[in-house]
Amino acid sequence: MSTTIEIRNLNQYYGKKQALRDINLTIENGMFGLLGRNGAGKTTLMKVIATLLPRSEGEVTVCGRSTLRAQEVRRIVGYLPQDFSMYPNMTVYEAMDYLGVLSGLSKAKRRQRIPRLLERVNLQDDRRKKVKALSGGMKRRLGIAQAILHNPKVLIVDEPTAGLDPEERVRFRNLLCEIAEDRIVILSTHIVGDIEATCEDIAVLDEGNVIYQGTVSDLIAMAEGKVYSAEISKRELELLKKDYLVTSMLTLGNNVMARFLAEERPFASAKLCEAGVEDAYMYLMHAERGEYGC
C-alpha cells in the first residue's frame, strides 16, 4: 500500500476563476509545508486532498486511494481547518467522543484513545471543561487531538498557528513534529517561521501555481549571496526601498539597520549575510514576478 500523496495535473476552478493551475506534487511521510500568501490556493489544495472539494481536473490519490472514493480517503485523513470550533456546550471529552463515533471508533477504542490524546495535547485536566470555555490555543490543541483521533495516515492542518501567542505557537509546532514521525502531516501557512521550525520538504504556492517544490535548505540556497545588510540613514532607506526588497529594518537612533535582497553588492558598506527561509521565500516570490533588484 502506497504511503504517499500523489497529485497529478490538478486544476481547480471556482466558476470561471482558476484557483489551482496544473499542480503536480508528491508528498511523502513526515512534515510537508505549504507556503504562500493569503489567497495563493493553499486551502483549496488541502480541501481537495481532504475530499471537501471535488477536483475539477487531474488526479489526486491519498495513500493509493483516489479522492473520488471520498469515504475511503476519509478513513485515513485527519483534517484541522483554519476556522473551526466544536459545539460550545459540549465538554472537551464529549466533543472528542462525538467525533470519535463519527469516525467509527468503538466504545472501547474511544475510551482508550481519548484520554491518551488529551494527555498528549496537554488537555487532560480540562476534559470536563466546556468547549466554549477554552482559550484559542487550547482549542487548537483540541483540534489536533480530534484530527488524529482515528489514527489517520495523513494529517492536514490549515494555518494552525494563526492567532496563537509565541509560547503556544512553539508548543504547537513541536506537537506537529511529534505527530509527523509516523505519518504525512501537511502544514499550510503563510507564516514562514512555522515552516522553518518544522518542515524539511515544502511547496510554495503563488496564484494557484507551485513556484517551488523541494527542501527548505535548497530554497535557502537560492537566496545565498543575495542577502545584504547595511546601516543607513532614514532618508537613504526610502531610496533603498525603491530599488531593493527590504526584508527587515531595525532602528538604531537616527539610522536604520536594513536587511535587503540584491543580485550583487549594491554599495560598499553593504555586508553580505547568511540567508534565512524568510529571505529565501521573499526572494522567490519577488524573483518570480521580476520585482525590485531580484
Binding site: T51, R74, M86, L102, S103, H150
Partner: protein, 413 residues
C-alpha cells in the same frame, strides 16, 4: 454507529434551549385547552341543550342559509374563506343590488329595510327563554324548489368571490340543528362502547396537540441544522468516515423521538382521568389509545414538519424553512377551521376533531384520515432521503447554496 449517534443527538437536543421552549409551549397548549378536562357525563332527559348537529335536510339547509344571507345582507358585509383564508367582502352597488334580488327571489324579502325589520324582531325574540343560541332561519319563498335555491346560492357565492356561506360545501354546514336526547345518548354510547372512552379523548387530545405540532418541529430542525455551521463544525464532521445517511437519520430520529416524548408524557394526564372515570363506570377503557392516536395522528405531522425543516436548512444553510413551514401551517390551520368537529380530514397537515364525541364522523372519515397520514409519512421519508442526498453533496463541496447567495450579494455590492 447509528445507535450511538442517535443517543448523542438526543442528549444534544435535551440541552438545547429551543427544545425546552417547544416543551413549554406544548405544556401551555395542553393546560389551557385540556388542563381542566372533565369526562362528559351521560346525557339526561330534560337537559336544556344536547348540542348541535349538521342536517342534510334540504328544507333546513334552505332556511339556515337564507337566515345567514339575510343577516349579512343587512350588515352589508360578508364573511368568506376563499382558499381557506378569512376575508371580509363589501359589495359594490350593482352586486349588492343583485344579492338583494336573490334574497327576494329565494326568501321573498324585498329590500334592505324589510330584512332589517326581520333581524330586529329576531334579536328581540332571541332574548326569550329557549331560543338562546338559536340561529336565524328564514322560510323560503313559496314555490321555490331546492334546485332553484342552489342555483341562486351558487350565483351569490360567485358574486362574493367564492368560499362564502352560500357555496355548496358551506351552505350544508349552515344547517345546524339541535340534537335530540336520543341522538345525544347514541353518540355518548358510541364514546363508551366503540371508543372505550379513551379513544374519543385521545382524538380530542390530538386535535389540540396537532395545531402546535404543525409548526414547532421546524424550529428544532432548523436550529439543529444550523448548529454545525454556527459552531464552525461542518468541516470536522464532513471529513469523518461516517456516512451521510447515518448522520442525517440519527439526527432525524432523535428529533422525532424528542418531540414525541413530551407529547406522550402529556397524554398521561387525560389517560389517567379517563382510566379513573372508566374504573368507576365499569368501562373497559383502552389504555393504549393515547399512544396509538399519538403515533397514528400526530407522528406523521411531526415527521413531515421536521423533515421539511431539515431539508430546507441543509439546502440553504438558513432559517428559510421557518418561513415556508409558517406559511404551510397557516394555510393548514385556517383551512381546517371549517371542519373542527372531525370527519372531514381531507389532506390537511393538521387534521381536526375538536370533540370527544362524533365517533361516527371519525369512522366515516377514517379511510381518508389514514390516507392523509400515510401520505405525510411517505412524504417525510422522501424528504429525509433528499436531505441525505443534499448533505452528501455538501460534504463533497457541492451544493453550497448559501455560499453562492452570499457571493452573489458581494459581487453586486
Amino acid at each position: 454507529m447509528l445507535g450511538q449517534l442517535f443517543v448523542r443527538e438526543c442528549r444534544q437536543t435535551a440541552r438545547s434551549l429551543i427544545f425546552w421552549l417547544i416543551v413549554l409551549i406544548l405544556i401551555f397548549d395542553f393546560t389551557t385547552q385540556l388542563g381542566e378536562m372533565e369526562i362528559g357525563e351521560e346525557p339526561q332527559p330534560g337537559q336544556e341543550s344536547y348540542g348541535y348537529r349538521q342536517s342534510k335536510d334540504p328544507d333546513i339547509i334552505m332556511r339556515s342559509t337564507l337566515g345567514q344571507l339575510t343577516e349579512e345582507y343587512v350588515r352589508e358585509n360578508y364573511t368568506t374563506y376563499p382558499i381557506g383564508f378569512y376575508k371580509s367582502v363589501t359589495l359594490n352597488e350593482k352586486d349588492d343590488a343583485r344579492i338583494g334580488e336573490i334574497l327576494e327571489e329565494t326568501a321573498g324579502i324585498a329590500g334592505r329595510e324589510s330584512a332589517k325589520q326581520i333581524i330586529e324582531e329576531w334579536y328581540a325574540a332571541r332574548n326569550e327563554p329557549g331560543l338562546a343560541g338559536e340561529l336565524l332561519k328564514i322560510e323560503p319563498a313559496d314555490g321555490l324548489t331546492y334546485e332553484q335555491f342552489t342555483d341562486l346560492m351558487d350565483e351569490a357565492d360567485k358574486i362574493l368571490g367564492g368560499g362564502s356561506n352560500y357555496g355548496k360545501e358551506y351552505r350544508e354546514k349552515n344547517a345546524q340543528v339541535p340534537k335530540t336526547y336520543e341522538e345525544a345518548v347514541k353518540e355518548y354510547d358510541a364514546l363508551l362502547e366503540k371508543d372505550r372512552l379513551t379513544g374519543g379523548y385521545a382524538r380530542l387530545f390530538c386535535d389540540y396537540m396537532v395545531i402546535f405540532l404543525g409548526i414547532l418541529p421546524v424550529f428544532l430542525a432548523v436550529t439543529r441544522g444550523l448548529r454545525d455551521r454556527r459552531s464552525m463544525m461542518q468541516e470536522l464532521i464532513y471529513t469523518r468516515k461516517c456516512s451521510s445517511l447515518t448522520v442525517i437519520v440519527s439526527r432525524y430520529l432523535a428529533m422525532i423521538v424528542m418531540l414525541t416524548l413530551p407529547v406522550l408524557i402529556l397524554s398521561l394526564n387525560p389517560l389517567l382521568k379517563c382510566m379513573s372515570y372508566a374504573g368507576k363506570a365499569g368501562i373497559a377503557a383502552d389504555m393504549l389509545a393515547f399512544v396509538k392516536y399519538t403515533f397514528g395522528w400526530l407522528l406523521p405531522t411531526i415527521m413531515v414538519v421536521s423533515a421539511l425543516g431539515m431539508l430546507l436548512t441543509e439546502l440553504t444553510d438558513t432559517a428559510a424553512a421557518v418561513l415556508v413551514q409558517g406559511a404551510w401551517w397557516f394555510i393548514a390551520v385556517f383551512s381546517g377551521a371549517d371542519s373542527l368537529r372531525g370527519g372531514m380530514y381531507g389532506w390537511s397537515l393538521t387534521p381536526r376533531h375538536n370533540t370527544e364525541l362524533n365517533w361516527q364522523g371519525f369512522h366515516d372519515g377514517f379511510a381518508q384520515l389514514a390516507a392523509n397520514r400515510l401520505l405525510y409519512t411517505a412524504a417525510a421519508l422522501l424528504l429525509v432521503v433528499l436531505t441525505v442526498f443534499i448533505y452528501s453533496q455538501k460534504r463533497k463541496g457541492r451544493l453550497h447554496i448559501r455560499g453562492k447567495i452570499l457571493a452573489d450579494r458581494k459581487n453586486k455590492s
